[in-house]
């Protein structure tokens, strides 16, 4: 049994609004093993990015952690001081941001931005060894050293993403949170970045949380998958289990709407009805009861609890047990 790197238990995060606190993340629990990878998949607004930011302690000022426990390498992150969090950030948990976001400061050279991360956490390091580390990181992500002196805008999208990966690896973290790292990249570049991430994660034995809206991408890189809907985790299991026999109707819908390159084209001839939006749950019962084909009176009345389909596969649907 591998040791748990990160354990998240019943985490709830809310945003303060005029009408009280509205939950963006509602009672989410999962764990990441050392060297393991977890994919969090869900549509926009389902709270997956909020989880990432919550783990880093970088929530917006109007967001607050309502309840839950986060244990990282045995340490409770919820009670850690600001100073301690600053030490943990990047040194222990680093982050890969979406490349389309301006994750790199446009007025500093990329070399300096990487070095800054190293110097912050290892202030005793000599300038020479910092430079050396930076160069080797560039080697690692296959960017020519000659481009260390460049500014972020001089890189293409894929290259910039590599810089961000290099930066994330700068302090040898044990957990990386990758937030939509390939969105807005072309297929070919996406493929390259994904395989790069996969390689490092495996070789350096880094735990990873991979956040994406694209279940196909998640399926490509992660060993475990958690499906999120309206702030809560609705299904959690290994890649094979979730994809091959999705237990939750929402997962089934996600998988079903995925267009594949199989010989048989998907059936597009169905009625193109409008579908409800993904927002925080406000009604009683299962959040998808109105669009779920199998919904029963129970679904409309109360939220389902977790149903264990196997030791590694659980689903939050009252129909799940019967379905099998």
């Amino acid at each position: 049994m591998t040791s748990a790197l990160l354990e998240v238990d019943n985490l709830s995060i809310g945003y303060r609004t005029a009408g009280g606190i509205s939950l963006a993340v509602d009672g989410v629990s999962f764990r990441v093993d050392r060297g393991g990878s977890l994919g969090l998949v869900g549509e926009s607004g389902c709270g997956k990015t909020t989880i990432g930011m919550g783990l880093m302690g970088l929530l917006a000022p109007n967001a607050t952690i309502v309840s839950g426990q986060v244990r990282f390498e045995g340490e409770d992150l919820m009670t850690a001081s600001d100073a301690r969090m600053r030490q943990i950030r990047w040194r222990r948990i680093s982050m890969i941001f979406q490349a389309a976001m301006n994750a790199l400061n446009p007025v500093h050279r990329v070399q300096d931005q990487i070095a800054e991360a190293i110097i912050t956490h290892e202030p005793d390091l000599s300038g020479h060894s910092v430079a050396h580390r930076t160069r080797s990181l560039f080697d690692l992500v296959k960017i020519p050293e000659s481009r260390l002196q460049d500014y972020p805008h001089q890189f293409s999208g894929g290259m910039r993403q590599r810089v961000i990966i290099a930066m994330a690896l700068a302090c040898n973290p044990s957990l990386i949170i990758a937030d939509e790292p390939t969105t807005a990249l072309d297929v070919i570049v996406q493929n390259q970045i994904l395989s790069a991430i996969g390689t490092f994660q495996e070789e350096m034995n880094i735990g990873m949380i991979f956040i994406s809206h694209d279940i196909a991408v998640v399926a490509d890189v992660c060993t475990n998958i958690g499906v999120m809907h309206a702030g809560s985790l609705v299904e959690y299991g290994s890649r094979q289990e979730v994809l091959d026999c999705p237990g939750h109707p929402y997962t089934r819908m996600l998988v079903g709407s995925l267009l594949t390159l199989s010989d048989q084209p998907a059936d597009l001839s169905g009625v193109a009805c409008a579908m409800g939006d993904n927002g925080p749950a406000t009604v009683e019962g299962c959040p998808i009861n109105s669009i779920c084909p199998d919904a029963t009176a129970v679904c409309r009345r109360e939220r389902a609890g977790w149903v264990e389909l196997s030791t590694t596969h659980r689903v939050r649907c009252s129909q799940a047990g019967e379905g099998r």
Binding site: L58, R86, F97, A103, L104, N105, P106, V107
Partner: protein, 325 residues
């Protein structure tokens, strides 16, 4: 390489615009009613006297000849002779220019530094009382009526408390002293600068504060600030190293342009503080219909503004690596 081409292209543009401004100025001044001679009114002056004066100023020539003459003068750098002072205009302006530059460059740099520093803090602590206080304070200072404030400053600091000289740029006592050295003179000028500087900084820092604050607020929304936080940097580093330099870029533009415009914008200040600069000369020449002097002053202003624009663009490119020409 590209930058050089950009600069060359801009120089050509500047030349064209300059020519347009030059012509417009000429036309505006000649179209304006009144003539400089009638200003020198004295019932003992005969019509012949007046004609002689007109002739001596070249005002008897047809407009077209005057225009050609004027163009020739501009091209050769000889801007003519002031009607009023009877001296070459260039000499007068060059005499006044350093004074204006000294006062306004200092004041703008000081107010920009102050504005950037305070604006940074205000944005960083958005919504808190200190932010509201600073914003309202900045607004209030910014909307103060300059001559009004200047006169009150003079009254209070120059007269009531008596800390600073009332106006002027130098005190005759120091300068006519036979053994006054350079240091004494320089200190004297500095001492005289305090009041106008205080007034100008008080009036101007507000706009920089507001620009910096809103620019900084924009910057704080940028994603690399989150990156910086995620990297575990402490808040001060994030504020001073990541947010402030980016946010200060718009201030650079506004500083550059105010520097350029300050060479005329200080007319009121220079008048009230008796600062012997271009602004005072400009107001004087316009009200006395001293065409050569006024034209030259306006042209000087135009060229400084145009060149400053260019310098700001180049500087911007230097400061912001994203911009390349």
């Amino acid at each position: 390489m590209a930058l050089r081409r950009f600069v060359l292209r801009r120089l050509v543009e500047i030349a064209v615009i300059f020519f347009v401004i030059m012509t417009v100025l000429f036309i505006l001044f000649r179209l304006a009613p009144g003539d400089p001679v009638s200003r020198m009114v004295d019932p003992s002056m005969t019509p012949e006297d007046a004609r002689l004066l007109m002739e001596s100023m070249g005002l008897d020539q047809p407009l077209w000849t005057q225009y050609i003459y004027y163009l020739k003068n501009v091209v050769t750098g000889n801007m003519g002779v002031s009607f009023h002072y009877g001296e070459p205009v260039i000499g007068i302006l060059m005499d006044r220019l350093p004074n204006t530059i000294l006062l306004f460059t200092t004041s703008i740099i000081l107010s920009a530094l102050l504005g950037v520093f305070l604006g940074k803090i205000a944005a960083w602590r958005r919504g808190e009382r200190i932010d509201t206080l600073m914003t309202i304070g900045a607004l209030f200072c910014h909307t103060l009526f300059l001559p009004w404030l200047a006169l009150i400053m003079i009254w209070f600091f120059g007269y009531r408390v008596g800390w600073f000289p009332i106006t002027g740029m130098i005190s005759p006592e120091v300068w006519i002293h036979p053994d006054a050295g350079f240091m004494a003179k320089a200190l004297d000028v500095l001492y005289h600068m305090v009041l106008p500087l205080m007034t100008l900084v008080l009036i101007h820092f507000g706009s920089y504060l507001l620009v910096m604050r809103s620019s900084m607020l924009d910057t704080l929304k940028d994603d690399y600030i989150i990156t910086a936080r995620a990297k575990g940097l402490d808040e001060k580093t994030i504020r001073d190293h990541h947010a402030a330099p980016n946010a200060a870029l718009p201030v650079v533009t506004s500083v550059g342009l105010s520097l350029a415009f300050s060479i005329n914008g200080g007319a009121l200040t220079e008048t009230v503080f008796t600062w012997p600069g271009i602004g005072r000369e400009l107001v004087f020449s316009v009200s006395h219909s001293d065409y050569p002097l006024a034209q030259a002053a306006f042209l000087l202003i135009a060229i400084v503004v145009l060149v400053a624009n260019l310098v700001v663009d180049v500087l911007y490119a230097y400061l912001d690596p994203r911009i390349r020409y």
